[in-house]
């Protein structure tokens, strides 16, 4: 450990020397200590923004590396999968009952919509949002499916029982009527959904919910990382 830290210091000094030689105009090398390189706590999951505080229902599953910032309302039985960012710092975001937001999704909302419609990001009941999707100030009504890598722009609306294919883009203000499948960039009408497909949408949501329950069981209500922190503090006399 000591050897490693010595090596690291040497490397850093080398970097300083190199930096100075690269930028001869700069007299001194300013080490940016103001940005924390490593935080033992990691990223906070719940980040309040002013008076906007995220609410997570007891029943909901929110993966540990998800960031909920501002006015985010994750309702009962909803699931937010790994790596997603729900940032309701300008407006409200609601993830409805039994809906799931896939991995690495970004949900954001703008402060005001020029159309006069609500600028909130609303996801209804039994919805499934595919992984890597980006949603901004849009409305996804009950029992709708948004595929993977979709982009839903301001004021777009996915109505009840409809589906959006993977990788599609819904331009601002576009509406996907009930019971239709849309896909493409920008999204276009593909076909009507069959009755079976419509019936399977809530089942899909329920399946994801069950999967999430298994994940949720892995996590205890309180982490035990604080024990590690206490150990570190004793060992290195760190000020934490």
């Amino acid at each position: 450990m000591a050897l490693r830290s010595v090596a690291r210091n040497l490397l850093r000094q080398g970097a300083v020397a190199q930096h100075l030689s690269k930028h001869p105009g700069r007299k001194t090398y300013v080490a940016d200590n103001h940005h924390v390189e490593w935080d033992f706590k990691g990223q906070r999951q719940i980040v309040p923004v002013g008076h906007r505080v995220p609410i997570v229902a007891v029943d909901a599953f929110v993966a540990p590396n998800v960031v909920l910032a501002g006015a985010v309302d994750v309702q009962d039985r909803a699931t937010v999968w790994y790596g997603s960012v729900l940032r309701g710092d300008l407006n409200r975001i609601v993830v409805g009952f039994s809906s799931s937001v896939g991995d690495k999704c970004v949900l954001h909302a703008v402060s005001t919509a020029p159309t006069g419609l609500s600028a909130e990001t609303l996801i209804g009941k039994y919805c499934t949002i595919g992984s890597f999707s980006t949603l901004r100030s849009c409305t996804v009504e009950d029992e709708a499916v948004v595929g993977q890598r979709c982009v839903l722009l301001e004021g777009s609306l996915v109505e009840m029982n409809s589906m959006l294919g993977s990788g599609s883009l819904l331009p601002p203000g576009r509406r996907v009527p009930a019971g239709e499948l849309w896909a493409g960039n920008p999204a276009r009408f593909v076909r009507m959904l069959t009755n079976d497909e419509i019936m399977s949408i809530p089942k899909l949501a329920d399946g994801l919910r069950e999967l999430a329950q298994e994940h949720a069981q892995e996590f205890l209500p309180y982490g035990t990382a604080y024990l590690e922190v206490e150990k570190l503090r004793e060992k290195h006399l760190l000020s934490m």
Binding site: Q18, A69, V106, T112
Partner: protein, 268 residues
């Protein structure tokens, strides 16, 4: 600490030791499959060998983001949650007042088809939407890259140009100034309107405001967070109506200060 306090303290210690023993017992009962919580090992700012990121003091880098290697970030820029700026094989330069929104990945190229080695250069007051991928490209000042778009090697987004959401700008494409390109692969859509042009700089200012709020929130220590929670609980209990009825003037909840006043007070 009085004698009673000392007794209670040692009792607490005994209870905690028992708790830890129980935890260990429980883990053993569950077999080797238990996941042990650890201190976060995520490094927000990481230097690779001798390449160290240089970040201006006024910039906001979310703790969940990774800034790795030879990255330079200018004044009042913001790198949002889950972003990865990986300047390991070449350098990344981000100008001032630029925002790189959540889950964006910025990388550079070492070897591509033409064998070129290229950095990624992002100018000043640039907006890069959520979930974008920027690979060894140049994005000039005051331009806009929509959400979920991909910009590939050697592409240039010129000053004040716009790449619409969900588009893919292919290798060595030039998006000329004042135009909006869309689709996959990205093609010329139309000229920007004056309104859109002005909204670009507005967006940059808005994000500077937002970044400041998020930076102050993320900078808080565990103690400050707990204090905030306690204050919120207090504010939940006391309402202004009730207080004024009783003729009591209590401490008001502080308003957030937005230097550029781009954010209106909203719901929730």
């Amino acid at each position: 600490m009085g004698t009673l306090g000392r007794v209670v303290f040692s009792l607490g210690k005994a209870a905690r030791t028992t708790g830890q023993a129980l935890d260990r017992l429980g883990s053993r009962l569950q077999g080797g499959n238990t996941f042990k919580d650890e201190v976060s090992k995520h490094q927000t700012v990481l230097s690779i060998f001798d390449k160290k990121p240089v970040i201006e003091e006024s910039a906001f880098v979310a703790p969940g983001a990774s800034v790795v290697g030879e990255v330079e970030i200018g004044k009042q820029s913001s790198v949002w949650y889950g972003c990865v700026l990986r300047g390991d094989v070449h350098h990344i330069k981000v100008g001032s007042e630029t925002n790189i929104q959540d889950n964006t990945v910025v990388h550079v190229a070492k070897t591509n088809v033409s064998g070129n080695v290229e950095p990624t250069v992002i100018g000043n007051r640039v907006t890069i939407g959520h979930n974008s991928v920027l690979h060894a490209c140049t994005v000039e000042d005051e331009s806009f890259v929509g959400m979920g778009s991909t910009i590939l090697d050697g592409a240039v987004v010129e000053k004040g140009a716009m790449v619409a959401a969900g588009s893919v700008v292919t290798q060595r494409t030039r998006v000329p100034s004042g135009q909006i390109w869309a689709g996959s692969p990205a093609k010329f859509l139309r000229e920007l309107t004056d309104e859109e042009r002005s909204s670009l700089s507005e967006n940059a200012i808005l994000y500077m405001d937002l970044a400041e709020v998020h930076a102050s929130e993320n900078r808080k220590t565990a103690g400050e967070i707990e204090a905030d929670k306690a204050l919120r609980r207090k504010w939940e209990i006391q309402s202004d109506d009730y207080d004024s009825h009783l003729g009591i003037v209590r401490s008001k909840r502080p308003e957030i200060h937005f230097p550029n006043k781009m954010i209106s007070k909203g719901p929730h």
